[in-house]
Amino acid sequence: MERELNDYIEEFRRGEYASFPLFYEATHRKVYYIAYGLLGSEFDAKDVSQDTYVRFISSLSSYRSGSNPYALLATIARNLAYDLLEKKNRLTSFEEEIGNEEEISRKEELSDSGEVKRLLQALSPGEREIVVLHVLDGLKFREIAPIVGKKLSTVLVTYNRAIKKMRGKEEGK
């Protein structure tokens, strides 16, 4: 898959975008997960996802051939999400977006994202992004470390802590 994605990227670099829909299909859920994991808002996550691709295409000159394109997409999505959070001065937005359990149930009737919110609710923003990047985006811990600007060991410890919290939440359900 990564090789295919890198083929697309070579085309993009030449200004050929005919295969962009295929690239988008293969990646957009993962990009969305990152944005959503940090923002907790579907609308904002869509915005950030959209901007991520625009920024991604603009950044291709610095993309190293053969790299994992998800890592670059993830980095851009994460930075944009944090920019948005900062702009809105709402670093606790995820908790606010989530609301309480009752509210989640109500929202689940409208959206299919309620369960994801519920699982991520117990995590801090730093834990959420590592869990999303690893579990949902399939990035390796050593790929996640430079994205989040932390040491590998810190990422591992954070991930363990996060998973334990999630387990505790599931068991206490």
Partner: protein, 369 residues
Amino acid sequence: MKRKDAEEALIKAANSMKIEDDLEDTFRLVKANSPLTSPVPEPETRKRKGRAYRGILVFGAAASVACVGLFVGLSFIPPANVPSVSVSGSQPTEIPATSVPTPSTLSSEEANAFAKQAVSLLSLASSFSGDAAPISRGNRLNARFDRGDNADFSLSDAQKNEIAADIDSFIYMVEEFSRSDSFVIDLVSDDTSIRVEDGSDVYLIDYQETQISAAVSLFEGTISFDGSSVYRFEGAIEEKGAEKEVEMRLDLEGITIKVEQEIEQGENEYSYSFIKDGESKPYRSVEFEREIAGRENESSIEIEEEGLKRSCEFEHLDGDGLGDHFRAEYEKEEMGGAEIEAEVYVRKTGEGSHSYTFGDGYVTNIDRR
């Protein structure tokens, strides 16, 4: 609930999310802002589209086919108290409940190398992991693992605890890792070095630990074989009240070994995995859980490989340390599956000494001096 369950729950939830396909707008923006087709980015265009998007509430769009590579695997869990016990005794040629065949993907040489490394790593993990693995800094461990008839084993004072609870660990340990007839681990943690003799082979482990906070330590080091090949490893230990987590990674040529260990009051979880050729697919996954409450001791080991799944559960039936009786149930799912049940009798043979007799004749002696 296990780690993998938590990950799978999140993946399942994420997969069921309906995410609106925003391709059309995104594609238009990408082309409009392309450095080649539009050297000067048009932020206004982008913003306008973004804002227009915000007002739309659509959850019914079909899910895309993207969600590939939701790779979670790599959860595994091995015994941590491994080096805290030493095993000796006679062994029948076939012990179905614990014999682990060499993975078909590895040669016997590779498997032996793995065995050594895994033992080393587990030793190291235990040396750092504190109470549940009773090897602590400043203690010296001479552990002799021998498949011969007259092997013995000794532990320091600090290591004389909960041997009975380690039954699962050492069975697993011996069968899984000790592919050689005999090997000796000499750990002098004050000198931050471990020397392992395995027949004519000698390998050395040097490590350093850095305390980065009251609760978190990092460690790193090297393992060298016969003074030539040198491999690096690194890891972290985090203490959280009564809980402790140890993570470590060893990178070999094309193979990564990860060891994870969680220790809680009354419960131990270990995991390890081997990743070959940089592929995320674990070639083996092991889960190991133990719950100890008073004299109750229930443990389970699950090993999964391609096309093969084994699980083993231990239960402490009766006894107070003098003639304890365990039951081990072993299940092997391979080509239709098979079940094996074995009973284990533990007899206290002297101060600090135990003899373990398994239903199939396997005898293990443990001497805790």
